[in-house]
Symmetry: C2
Subunit: 321 residues, 2 copies
């Protein structure tokens, strides 16, 4: 990371470009983690919008626990882009999803940001390779893709473009972790990154079912909230199926239920279950489970399902009250 | 429901056929809801297996709250199928997923079960139309598809086959609700039903990504547990995207992000977003939201994300302790 002007844990000032739901969510997150935030958006009412977004998010952030010195008063909304990024140790861009706009804006940000400062884009739709084309120092441009709302959902997906330097990707991942996020660094550009590909596959199958009159909107939502959705905050889809194999885990699951991958259970065809893919899934689950036995995982799953259901029920009842 | 021997709320004795993870899970669920359960499985160690399964599940069930009179002592493991189903007011079959076995077993169950008693299969892989072919009274055979573990995950998907009578489907749905389950009645047979189609679409996309070296098992799981998985216990995929549209809700989401359905964000192609599909999604979300405004939904989502994260963190910490 020799090219970075700062170590990730030395950052005290973050610039946020864009005052929409995602940009405002980042502002709230960084404020809650104790950073000074300088924000800019071309909209004339940017300051009012951002203040409203932060005010709405703050009670939740107080409940989650603020960093030392965290305060909404650490937000400065600037009149120009240069004033926002000129003093920043990190820049998060969250402009609308238009490629030409992103290309131009990232070039402008790059030109106005001090050397050695990493610039991240919140894009969900583009790869950095196609966005960094006009930037003077494209090696410091990365994708840092959050989930809505960025101040509550921990996940950030980090990936560079063809012109991005490795140090910038590593720096961004380390900075986000320091700033309280849960980070996945992709080894290469992939449309939709990881989480949205998974979410989108489910969403498209849902749209097909509604289009064909096979299920209603309400049935689809209920099938997730009262079904597999209760397991996913603790165990992702792989560990979930690791447990579906009983004591034999993922190996038994794939050897036993592998043929069901050919079943017309969704409109998406599965890949061929080669020995290599089987082994990769099995080893991945073993690595992820670590020293937790299947029985340990079942116990924690059961406890989590109960705890999650209770938590959700309390929220629903409070809403009705 | 003129053909049913009992009203769903008059049931006091349930027969469970099959002592695997799902069969045993049903036994635990029905015991916890205060039913007498008569269980049978051809395995010589069926009684020991079922007792172990119930003993393991019971602490969780006590924590969730038992029905009056609920006790593991209300379980009788019988030596023959006829002894299990002959006195039952409802039968739940959870045998291994082999079609010829299911056809034969359901015919045997049907022959030994008193008239007017509904018989449900836990199958996840077959339609009732293909399973009920050998049964003498196929009109009372339905699918009642649970999720693992059946004593903790509320969802049951209910659907009949071509020879199933409407009264049997309605009776089963009402009985499961009475027994504390969350029920979806499918309007027609659909391979994978609803929840597994959604889950399977995500799973197949995950397998493709691992097969292509685009993501690891651990990245896939983390992308869900620390990302969209935190929203799904409260809001299913449709309401989640209703909120992605801001104040404009699902209508704005589809009108604005509709083109992204053409993006290569998953290997599954989306359906054509016709005006009919758009309206069906929008109206479905409005129906589901009821009198909750977008702001109400955002508030409950944020509260739920915090509560779910806390619940999961506590379970993880207890596991390490």
């Amino acid at each position: 990371m020799s090219e970075a002007a700062f170590s990730p844990n030395e950052v005290s000032t973050v610039a946020c470009v864009g005052a929409g739901v995602i940009g405002g969510g980042w502002v709230a997150h960084f404020l809650a983690r104790g950073y000074r935030v300088r924000a800019w958006d071309p909209a004339p009412d940017a300051a009012a919008k951002l203040t409203r977004l932060v005010d709405r998010a703050w009670p939740a952030l107080v409940e989650l626990g603020l960093a030392d010195g965290a305060s909404p008063a650490n937000l400065t909304v600037t009149g120009t882009l240069a004033e926002a990024v000129g003093e920043a140790h990190f820049v998060q861009e969250s402009a609308p999803e238009k490629l030409d706009l992103k290309q131009k804006l990232l070039a402008d940000i790059d030109a106005a940001t001090p050397p050695g400062v990493v610039i991240a884009s919140s894009t969900s739709g583009y790869g950095m390779t196609e966005m960094q084309v006009a930037a003077p120092a494209p090696e410091r441009l990365v994708v840092g893709h959050p989930f809505n709302p960025p101040y509550l959902i921990p996940l950030v997906e980090v990936v560079g473009g063809e012109l991005t330097a490795d140090w910038a990707v590593e720096w961004a991942a380390e900075f986000y972790r320091h700033a309280g996020k849960s980070v996945i660094t992709l080894s290469r550009e992939l449309p939709g990154f990881i989480a949205n590909r998974l979410q989108e596959a489910m969403w498209r199958e849902a749209l097909h079912m509604v289009a064909n009159g096979e299920a209603t909107v309400e049935q689809i939502d209920l099938s997730i909230t009262d079904g597999p959705g209760l397991r996913w905050p603790l165990h992702g889809p792989c560990l979930t199926f690791h447990l579906a194999g009983g004591e034999g885990g993922m190996a038994h699951m794939l050897d036993h239920f592998g043929p069901s991958l050919k079943a017309p259970w969704t409109r998406l065809d599965a890949p061929e279950l080669t020995p290599e893919l089987r082994d990769r899934m099995v080893e991945g689950c073993h690595d992820e489970a670590g020293d937790r036995s299947i029985a340990d995982l079942v116990r924690e799953r059961d406890r989590a399902i109960i705890a999650v259901q209770r938590a959700v029920r309390a929220v629903r009842e409070a809403g009705r009250g």
